[in-house]
């Protein structure tokens, strides 16, 4: 299935920080077909470094989408039954307006003059896209990690528009540890002289800083066990250590590779704005408690966490689930066994497929 990225343009969007962004463009893809009643639409929400290409093969490179194992005919998100939409987030660098976009006021990229955005700004733009597509209610909003934050925000911000929400490996608010790792990433980029206060477009991007930031990120996405299984202490193309600081271990090679690949597809300034949006995210903002924040939600919930995920540990999912239970809301919760750490929602999808499929089927049945 070859998929094309589509674009929607809007005059402007008002942001939480008080600024207005004008104009604003959203890159998105769709999979499957919208039914006549427009009741089978599911919004897929990507994680930090994801993009609109969630499934199928991209026309340009023929690469599979980031959740291609979950979205497709007969898969957890079954394209024979449902219509899926995935959009690149506001502040991103994969087609939606972000710091690398041209500021119409100056004719140059926004760079660090881009306004600081929030998860709810991202969701507001997604709502504009959904309205633009003529969809009043989404059968489900779902995503892992930062996608889970958006799935929660959707249920709170637009209770009438969300039939069900499936936050996976996420949280209602970033913890100190999560903010800390993001700050290390940001500091790694800032320490790279090529960053140049964000003004590197058309010159030389801060490739080393961004690569180091990504290396740290990748460690947090795995688990001690998955790293032991995948790399152990295996050496890279050698029989004994080199007594130097070239690559000795397989794990070093892997991190360097992932770091350098990331530079090819990700904008360093987007790293700042998106990680900041995650750090600012706190569903309890202005309400004092999760129970208050979730009081008016109308959707059904399926909350999923993973046993070995130490970046977004199960207790954070349970905070959400327990607030929903205290409110008598309709919530299902499971902690899936996996050794893959935070990456589990992307790579270890067997049981996730099973629960998502059943949850969606019963939700769809009850709402048609």
């Amino acid at each position: 299935m070859i998929v094309d990225t589509q674009y929607a343009r809007f005059e402007s969007i008002a942001l939480d920080c008080g600024a207005t962004l004008a104009p604003v463009e959203v890159a998105y893809q769709t999979y499957g077909a919208l039914n006549a009643a427009r009741s089978n639409a599911i919004l897929i929400l990507h994680a930090f470094s994801g993009d609109a290409h969630a499934a199928g093969l991209s026309r340009e490179e023929g690469k599979p989408g980031w959740w291609d194992n979950m979205i497709g005919p007969g898969k957890g998100f079954d394209t024979d039954k449902y219509f899926m939409i995935c959009a690149n987030v506001l502040g991103g660098c994969r087609g939606t307006t972000g710091p690398s976009s041209v500021n119409p006021a100056t004719g140059a990229p926004y760079a660090m003059a881009f306004p600081v955005i929030t998860i709810s700004d991202m969701v507001r733009l997604q709502k504009m896209l959904i309205d633009h597509l003529g969809i009043k209610r989404l059968l489900a909003v779902t995503g892992g990690s930062m996608g889970a934050m958006q799935a929660l925000e959707w249920a709170v911000a637009y209770p009438e528009s969300v039939v069900s929400s499936i936050p996976i490996a996420g949280t209602a608010r970033h913890s100190a540890q999560q903010i800390a790792f993001n700050e290390v990433g940001r500091q790694a980029i800032m320490a790279d002289p090529d960053w140049n206060e964000g003004n590197y477009y058309g010159i030389k991007p801060p490739a080393r800083g961004l690569a180091v930031a990504r290396m740290v990120g990748h460690i947090t996405f795995m688990s001690d066990e998955s790293m032991r299984e995948k790399f152990g202490r295996r050496l890279r193309d050698k029989d004994k250590v080199g007594f130097d600081f070239s690559v000795d271990f397989e794990v070093e090679s892997y991190l360097r590779y992932r770091g350098s690949k990331f530079v090819d597809r990700f904008d360093a300034n987007s790293y700042f704005f998106i990680t900041k949006a995650m750090d600012y995210f706190d569903l309890t903002n202005g309400t004092g408690s999760l129970v208050n924040a979730l009081r008016d939600v109308k959707s059904r919930f399926l909350v999923i966490s993973f046993t070995s995920d130490w970046l977004y540990p199960s207790y954070q999912s349970l905070e959400v689930v327990n607030a929903l239970r205290a409110l008598n809301k309709d919530v299902a919760y499971c902690e899936l066994p996996s050794n893959y750490g935070h990456d589990a929602f992307l790579v270890d999808v067997g049981e996730q497929t099973e629960v998502v499929r059943g949850f969606l089927a019963s939700t769809f049945k009850a709402n048609t």
Partner: protein, 209 residues
């Protein structure tokens, strides 16, 4: 309760769930109510109640694999431990709280029962009767820890840690001042009140505070 033709009940049970205490629960529960099943397994009973009684069904189950299967069935189940996680539900938030043949596996049965009556207007408790003649005979004649149809495990690998008889449960209800609205005693596919503590394999109690 006029539990009618045993043949009809047999057919009903085997056709739908294969468990006679489920059939009784199915009869006791009013349509359109809110139901919480503690230790709901793979959610078969809740799914049946949702489809046939239009109840709003919720469950708690501790075994991850069973939770996954229950959610895959479309039932909203919470992965948690009924010995620990009932506090998270508000008072009187359910019409019925069900505990079917799980009481004997809980660590703090009385606390679980009290919690059931806190968060539910009524509790339905079914349990295997430890006063059944087969249990008594096993101890009396064989001098061995009972292994019967309802208690099929060796003592060393049994999940059952708290055993109760019909009489024991009656006593407890009295001591706790619970109102027993219904008690139904099952042996195989039959129900009856005669020498219940000796003849009942499974007891079903509908109680309220």
């Amino acid at each position: 309760m006029p539990l009618t033709a045993a043949t009809r009940r047999r057919a009903f049970v085997s056709e739908i769930l294969g468990r006679s205490d489920y059939a009784i629960i199915g009869e006791l529960i009013e349509p359109g109510t809110r139901v919480l099943d503690l230790g709901c397994g793979e959610g078969e009973l809740l799914q049946w109640l949702a489809e046939n009684k239009g109840v709003e069904a919720r469950g708690i189950e501790v075994d991850p694999r069973r939770v996954q299967r229950a959610i895959a069935r479309g039932v909203s189940v919470y992965q948690g431990d009924i010995d620990q996680d009932l506090a998270g539900y508000p008072d009187q938030s359910f019409d019925y709280v069900i505990l079917s043949q799980t009481l004997q596996e809980t660590r703090r049965p009385l606390r679980v029962l009290r919690e059931m009556l806190r968060l539910g207007r009524r509790a339905i408790v079914t349990f295997p009767n430890y006063g059944h003649w087969s249990v008594r005979l096993s101890l009396l004649w064989r001098g061995r820890a009972p292994m019967t149809r309802r208690f099929p495990h060796h003592w060393y690998d049994s999940p059952n840690i708290h055993f109760t008889t019909v009489k024991d449960f009656d006593e407890l209800a009295r001591a706790e001042s619970w109102t027993v609205e219904r008690q139904i005693f099952l042996a195989g596919h039959y129900q009856g009140r005669f020498l219940a503590n000796l003849l009942a394999e499974v007891a079903v109690f509908l109680i309220k505070k």
